[in-house]
Symmetry: C2
Subunit: 436 residues, 2 copies
């Protein structure tokens, strides 16, 4: 065998085509072995793609599917090879051994045949399927777009505490933490803290972090630990400015994904519009539409899962979009910090964003006056003293402000039309699942 240059730099699969080098060093996993007796094709998979290696029986001795390997070989054009390029192998070296009799499920099959629960049990093996990992490429880019968009609008990122002292936002749905000798809670959202940071002078903040819900739901759309994309903005005029901001983000996001996730969107047969315009319908109007067009009654002051689906059907037909802002929820259905409406005091300056039948955002303008907020806390049957840590900021000049939060996994799920939110989470936590 010829001597190869051991100082070769590693080339990623997606760089091979444009590489000027004749001799290439690749690293990755054994995706497929096609043994044609006199010649053996091995497909090598790395984080960037899959490439065909031309080898022989001797070179692949001891090689099994999913071994981590290093390969040195020569680039060769072959129109029949996937991508038009293959590697004539000089040397294969095993870097990561395998210890299995049978894979838990097929990784290289055209169709993913494993049940979701089995995939989640062996999450890291399921992720080796390129189309599963693609979900997280898209998720990564959602986050990147969120950050880029907000930074361009003068927002700063914050990190706020997840271990909190009081169960102010609803005790029964919070996880308790044993904090030294005290009982504490995992934050349901950074709601209070992001408002406080607006008041602290940051004015415009966002946080990307975990939120915890001890909800007794085990459905396709609930997670007990999820990533929340939180936004809060000071010196706003009204809640419509917040809807403009979110619409602007989604518009930016779809353009971004169409640019950088073309391959991934194709894998999921998804076509994203290059422009996002979102109609705004009051909850009252929505109720009327549901009743008149779909003969569907709604719960008072809210909309149920079926209603969310139907109203999206309506806007799809009427406006050609999968998004709709529902506005002006009644006071009784919104948290105590929600700003009442200017005209009708039984309503609030709040909104939800529904995307393809699923609520992905709750938002609104908040009360910014100390006395008004304190009174509202009392009206809601709560004790203002429990909120001292939060109310303090409101004593020292709190500007009009508001914000919203987007569930990262829900947004990912809806963009790729996944059927279960667990698919959009690397290591999901639900009522039954704490591993891996």
């Amino acid at each position: 065998m010829q001597t190869v240059d051991k100082t070769l730099e590693r080339t990623f699969v997606n760089e091979v085509k444009d590489s000027q080098d004749e001799t290439i060093l690749l690293r990755g996993w054994v995706y497929k072995i096609i043994d044609l007796s006199n010649i053996v094709f091995v497909k090598l998979r790395d984080k960037s793609g899959i490439i065909q290696l031309v080898t022989n029986k001797e070179q692949i001795e001891g090689l099994k599917l999913e071994n981590a390997i290093e390969v040195i070989g020569k680039k060769s054009k072959n129109e029949k090879a996937p991508g038009g390029i293959e590697i004539i192998v000089d040397e294969i070296k095993i870097l990561g051994r395998t210890y299995y009799d049978k894979l838990p499920f097929e990784i290289n099959s055209y169709k993913n045949k494993a049940a979701l629960e089995t995939q989640l049990d062996h999450r890291t093996i399921a992720l080796r399927r390129p189309e599963i990992r693609a979900i997280f490429k898209v998720q990564n880019e959602i986050e990147q777009a969120f950050r880029d968009y907000l930074r361009s609008k003068n927002f700063e990122q914050i990190h706020t505490a997840k271990i909190i002292d009081s169960s102010t936002e609803g005790g029964s749905e919070m996880f308790t933490v044993n904090y030294f000798d005290r009982r504490s809670f995992l934050a349901q959202s950074p709601q209070f803290y992001k408002q406080m940071m607006v008041g602290a002078g940051f004015e415009r903040v966002y946080e990307i972090g975990h939120a915890y819900r001890a909800e007794l739901h085990n459905t396709w759309r609930h997670l007990n630990e999820y990533v929340s994309l939180d936004v809060e903005m000071g010196f706003i005029k009204d809640e419509f400015e917040l809807m403009d901001l979110e619409e602007g983000f989604l518009d930016y996001l779809f353009k971004h994904l169409n640019k950088v996730c073309k391959k991934e969107l194709e894998m999921y047969k998804v076509e994203l519009p290059n422009e996002v315009k979102i109609p705004r319908i009051t909850l009252e109007e929505a109720h009327k539409i549901l009743l008149e067009k779909y003969n569907k009654k709604s719960p008072i002051g809210n909309i149920d899962a079926k209603g969310e689906e139907l109203i999206c059907d309506y806007v799809k037909k009427e406006y050609g979009t999968e998004f709709v802002f529902l506005t002006k929820y009644p006071v009784a259905k919104r948290p105590m910090y929600t700003m009442p409406d200017d005209e009708d005091k039984t309503l609030t300056k709040s909104f939800d964003l529904i995307y393809d039948g699923l609520e992905i955002t709750t938002g609104g303008q908040r009360i910014n006056d100390y006395e008004m907020l304190k009174e509202n806390i009392i009206k809601f049957g709560l004790n203002p003293e429990d909120f001292d840590f939060y109310l303090d900021t409101f004593k020292y000049g709190m500007p009009p402000h508001g914000g919203f939060a987007i569930g990262l996994e829900r947004l990912t799920m809806k963009i790729l039309k996944l059927s279960n939110i667990r698919e959009a989470t690397l290591v999901p936590r639900d009522m039954k699942r704490l591993t891996p």
Copy 2:
């Protein structure tokens, strides 16, 4: 009073100078009121800076320090005004009222006279001091640089579970969470998950997320909840490749901060070198140096806080840098997943990064062979079955890999030469503090 255009867009203070408009709309807080009887100067502070308003007694009626206000006025050049520009006020409107008799401490004084604990009690008020908020501008840019640098090297961001099933990394230092009817834990680090995601095919990952330590330490350098900048990289040659990566990041970071945080670094009188080169010293050598040059004995297989300070004194004099990598820690002092050294099997392919007397990173190459890892778990007196969720990935071809983690608050603290880590945390959590 003249009629002003109510459709005016808000201008940030740092945009006033370059603005083409004569009439300007500003929003912010009342930072200072200087009443000269016939004329009143008000300093307005927004997230971008401070500007002087020229007003009169009538216009400021009812105005108090820290009111959130909106101002419309005319731009005017005045060499004596800070920044050479002031605003001749047409109208001031109060947007956020105040409800205090006395501020908890002065916000507009030249020196910050409040004790740290008092500042933390009123965190959002302390943050209104520009130099306090500046810390988080720098922290924000550290994170941005971390992300930009790693993305350019083909790393992907991951989010992994913080609620975990087992106390595998050391039970006594973990917080317990009541997870429905089960006991679970808050993750001390994403260590296992980031390794698993390398094996899942991401190859190169980073995570920016909270980590939890139930340590019984209440010192200037400990937090019980902190933000960890985690990196893990597959297909590495050795641990030195990881040190190269971290050195590359710090070099990139310092250049970035010198570019975008000039003002903030000046506030703290910090001069960052524009190039970072980090010497690498084995722990054994370090012990020798400490003994010979400083007559300082070290604990076996480790270095203590005093030793960290002295070794930094040494590299400062010898190499002109505040950083030093200490390498080749003994097996007994590193976790069970650490790769043993090639030459001396009592040592490991591990490192710490010490920055100006403080450890900010622990890292190293990990064991990637399933059998070897399992044996090591047993050698460490642990039960491999407790690690099933982690070991599973290693059965299916795990490449050589390793990584490191940087404490975000520690890095921020050391860059700005803060004396307490709580200063580098928006809402710190320590043994005694759960609020705000």
